[in-house]
């Protein structure tokens, strides 16, 4: 396997996803291919040599060759995301290395059923899995439970609706933890045992499960799932840290 090397990607497109989330498409001279769920390390170097780095999940499926999509939440007092959001422009170069991490990955060869639980921008690596699943025309049964504060915070809203179309085998369920849209009849609370019980019902305990989001959400969901009898080794987790609020 090739050593992990830093390379410079060129920002080709910047897309606003939500008021505090943007997607950055990067063209890579050495596109390395990845598995859905992989992340990259992104490094910024100041003129005085000071360096800082962060990990960002890859949002694009491996089927999108030659480039990567990164979807980044703005952390207002952060060191890297405000630079990405407010300073970086199309044509700029960003230094990154990857793909990284073989634990939190899923592809169609691993089979299903597939249970994805995401909180906030924790949906990003799960989106790579769903995009890959769609690109492979897979009908492996899949469910995404996506916890967001308000309707404005939903990343990839239209694409998720398309991916979950009739016959897709994918269900997308939202829970709004702060304010649900008018007329909403679905979940409107933090993920709890009763909600998880309903969501996993069609799959029983057989699901391959991936949970990603703020640390406290991931801890809580993983503990609840294992408490319900899901084998711990089938509940894969990735923690993003604090929520930024």
């Amino acid at each position: 396997m090739a050593a992990l090397e830093w390379q410079l990607g060129t920002v080709t497109t910047i897309q606003t996803e939500t008021p505090k989330t943007k997607s950055f498409f990067l063209a890579l001279p050495k596109w390395m291919g990845h598995r859905p769920g992989h992340h990259i390390d992104l490094r910024l170097t100041a003129p005085d040599g000071y360096r800082t780095q962060r990990s960002y999940s890859i949002a694009s499926a491996p089927e999108l060759t030659g480039q990567l999509e990164l979807t980044v939440d703005l952390i207002p007092d952060g060191e890297v995301s405000p630079y990405l959001h407010d300073v970086v422009m199309q044509g700029d170069l960003l230094e990154l290395r990857g793909p990284i991490g073989g634990y939190f990955v899923w592809d169609v060869s691993l089979g299903g059923p597939l249970l994805l639980v995401g909180g906030g921008s924790g949906v990003v690596p799960l989106m790579a899995m769903l995009r890959h699943r769609a690109a492979q025309h897979s009908t492996i049964p899949a469910r995404l439970l996506y916890s967001v504060r308000t309707a404005d915070d939903v990343i990839y809203r239209d694409e998720l609706a398309r991916l979950a179309g009739a016959g897709s085998g994918l269900d997308v369920l939202f829970t709004y933890t702060r304010q649900a849209p008018a007329g909403w009849t679905g979940y409107r609370r933090r993920i709890d045992a009763a909600m998880l019980n309903e969501v996993i019902k069609p799959f029983g305990l057989a699901a391959k499960t991936y949970v990603c989001g703020p640390t406290l959400l991931v801890e809580s969901v993983a503990n609840l799932l294992v408490g319900m009898g899901q084998p711990a080794e089938r509940v894969r987790t990735e923690r993003f840290g604090p929520t930024g609020s």
Binding site: D41, R97, Y103, T237, G241
Partner: protein
């Protein structure tokens, strides 16, 4: 949680996935699925499931069962320090 009094601030922690790049540079391949056994409580788990604290000058990995320090990684301008005294062993699969 009370961040002023807690020894281990779980809200700020991430997990072993977050240091996969550093570990890959040290070991030469992906380590997130490698098993580690805690020298304090003997619990075993994959590196990805360890508690990770990455906001300090170095990285600290802790056991999710007993919170003991498993490993520390510090980068200096000239070298990398890896202290794994909190691990009884690492199991690195040949297919990794």
């Amino acid at each position: 949680m009370d961040v002023e009094t807690a020894d281990v601030n779980t809200e700020l922690m991430v997990d072993g996935n977050a240091i996969a790049g550093e570990l890959e540079l040290i070991f030469g391949h992906d380590m997130t699925s490698a098993l580690v056994r805690c020298a304090s409580c003997a619990a075993q788990g994959m590196i990805a499931t360890m508690m990770a604290f990455v906001r300090g000058p170095g990285v600290v990995l802790r056991c999710p069962s007993c919170e003991a320090v498993i490993a520390r990684i510090v980068e200096t301008p000239t070298a990398t320090y890896l202290d794994t005294r909190g691990a009884m062993y690492l199991r690195i699969g040949h297919s990794a």
